[in-house]
């Protein structure tokens, strides 16, 4: 794997942890910037235009979930949450407010680096390729999606998820396979990641997200692209 450079914004109020994260990120060739206050997070985000945000959920001022929502309203930048709570509600709430992935504290440095790399990994020059499911057209090289000629604004993760499903229409993907292909998890991870992001994706691409026609649930197995 080639060394990746990238600007990482660390939003964390714990000075020691932030500094430690900085040491590790710099050691791996990233450029970290820091902000300790939820209220100032958006300001710093707009100034630094990071390639990835590491976001602690518990922050003074504005809380991490709101910061996440605001960033997502402006940008599709990958967001990785740092959370001390692995309880269902907090994690799902964070994912629903737009985070791409999460890491539960305490974590190892190599896990952090692996998660960050996975989110920054992009194929350099994808071959020109156009995929179609229903009335949705995906231009893989151009990173754009259209439904009935209208452009749709997907985050990189949502785009990757849709492309993974669309490349093999009618093949059923288990959540585990999707976690591996889209998120880069080599071992079993939290399948709620898939569930929440499929819902977010549906909300953008489906005519009626309650009765999806493009990303269909196969009960007890997983998901597939296309009807029938």
């Amino acid at each position: 794997m080639r060394t990746m450079k990238g600007r990482v914004l660390v939003v964390d109020d714990d000075a020691a942890l932030a500094e430690m994260l900085g040491i590790v990120l710099r050691g791996e060739g990233f450029e970290p910037t820091f902000v300790a206050d939820g209220d100032r997070a958006m300001e710093v985000f707009r100034d630094t235009k990071p390639d990835l945000v590491l976001l602690d959920l518990m922050l003074p001022g504005m809380d991490g979930i709101d910061v996440c929502r605001q960033i997502r309203a402006e940008s599709g930048v990958p967001i990785v949450m740092l959370t001390a709570k692995s309880d269902t509600v907090d994690v799902v709430l964070g994912l629903e407010s737009g985070a791409d992935d999460y890491i539960v504290k305490p974590f190892q440095s190599k896990v952090l680096i692996a998660r960050v790399r996975a989110r920054l990994r992009r194929t350099d020059d994808p071959a020109p390729e156009t995929l179609t499911i229903g009335d949705v057209t995906i231009d893989v090289a151009g990173h754009s999606v259209q439904r009935a000629g209208e452009p749709l604004n997907l985050t990189p993760l949502e785009f990757d998820l849709l492309v993974a499903l669309a490349r093999k229409p009618r093949q059923v993907f288990t959540r585990e396979v999707l976690l591996e292909q889209v998120w880069g998890y080599r071992h079993a991870a939290d399948t709620r990641l898939v569930n929440v992001h499929v819902q977010r994706l549906r909300a953008k691409i489906e005519k009626d997200p309650e009765r999806p026609e493009i990303v269909v649930t196969v009960r007890g197995v997983g998901y597939k692209a296309g009807p029938g």
Binding site: D14, A16, L17, M20, L21, I23, V24, G27, M58, L82, A84, K85, D87, T88, V89, K105, P106, F107, Q108, S109, K110, L112, T174, E176, V177, E180, H187, A188, D190, T191, R192, N195, R219, G220, V221
Partner: protein, 607 residues
Amino acid sequence: MKGAAASFRASYRGWLARPRPLFVVSRSRTLLWRLTDRWRRSLQLRVLTATLVLCGVVVAVLGYFLMQQLVADVYANKAQSAENIANVGLATAKANGELSRRPNGSSQQAMLSLARELEPSGGTPYAVEVTLPRMMQGPEVYGAGAVTTTNGGPPPVPADLVSHVSNGQPGDLFKVWAELPAKPGGKPVPELVFGARFGKVYQLYYFFPLSAEQQSIASMQRTLLLVGVALVFLLAAIAWLVTRWVVIPVRLAAQGAWRLSTGKLNERMDVRGNDELAALATSFNEMAASLQEKLEELEDLSQVQRQFVSDVSHELRTPLTTIRIASDVLFAAREEMDQAAARSAELMQGQLERFESLLTDLLEISRYDANAATLDAEPVDVCTIVRQSADVAQQLAERRGCRLQFRLPAEPCIAEVDRRRVERILRNLLLNAVEHGEGHDTVVTAAMDSAAVAISVRDFGVGLAPGEDQLVFDRFWRADPARARSSGGTGLGLAIALEDARLHGGWLEAWGEQGRGSMFRLTLPRTAGGGLHGSPLPLNPDLATDISEPDVAAAEASPDLASADPAAAEASGAVTKGAVTKEAAGGAAENVAARGGQPDDEVAARG
């Protein structure tokens, strides 16, 4: 019985002239069912029915005796007045000079005039007969016979009365109750007949018909019946009203208690007056209030506890993360340090991992203690989870030189479970089994029926002493204190696994025998919230048909995600079914000998 019912049905059908027997039967059955149901559920109905039946019996008995008395009185009065008339008539007859002589030619005339004399003159109706017995009627007694005052011939004299009169003393009056033959279309009328002998051979008979008395008795009976029925219904109505007074507040209390039990803690009863029912309502309200208070207190406590757990979690985890990462950095750079510092970095790294898993387990168990654990159930293939949970145990098994054998059904075992929790349970069971398996293979079996899915994990290690099958689930319990340091577990694994199983409404049970190994069985309902009535797998391996012995020819278990498909499961299941070796029999003896040589490289191996 059946025949009668059938014939009844047939006639009923004919009468209705619309053949719908099924409808009739099912409807009557429904009605019967509804009645029995009502009977069981309604105290008021039972009290009412009991009152009706008891009052009916009492009124019937009383009415019967009253009627008997009335009838006896009426007939006794009649008999008295009739006897008086008959006595007067007899005196008149005795005083008749002509008829005190022997019968002769003028006897007939004398009898006729006597009969006329004795005729009823208004008042009580009766008939009189003056007669000369047939044996006295000879040629010298011209035309003498029976003379009666009734038209249409003399009424027949009862035979027993004739014999009394013939054999009795002259002048004695005899009485007989008899019955007049019924007229066509009518009922027989009772009558009272008096008879006596007078003169030498003449006989005098009085006939008193009792039709008037019969009619008045019948009318009395009707009245009494009417009054009785009215009385019974009146009493029933009173009983209904009285029970209503009592039952309605009780019913309200029952409804209130029911609503309270469904969680509506603000439910209270109206208190009216000062009586027992008011006391019931007051007590009910006090109970509800204290329940509400206690529940809210508990809820607050649980909330506080939950918040505490959450805070501790966050507060501890953030510095721990920093320590962890710092340790990672030091550990990575240990080759540049001197020997003491390098070893210290290694030890820190290893113990941090232990510390982390201990913290995670503690927080998990305190989450259960605070009732803050929630089930995040979704339909998943439990067999896939079994394979995925095996990764860590698989690595440990490879180091120990043994294998995990999977005996999973070919078809997917779909159940609504919390994947994270089931994975945690299985990871724990598998690690435990390999750890305590003494180098023997571990057998994992899964089975499913309509209601439940079960997974059993069998090892052939030291096993459990009697009573330990319950102790293993205790927190920080260890089978052998001397070995405590060697195992990497936190001592909370099985306690958490048990809570995880309970959260699903499932079971986690242990079986073990010293020298034969142990078996843990997890049974989960296939629908979230569904009940369990049994397990598709036996807990005692002596009852199992195909897991009593480890199988050398078992397919290599692969926890690889991509290949976790039904075909792979089928393959391993099919292979393991057929081949059975004799390893277990010898294995048990080996186990005892092999104890003590426990590899204790867990900590170092992890780092």
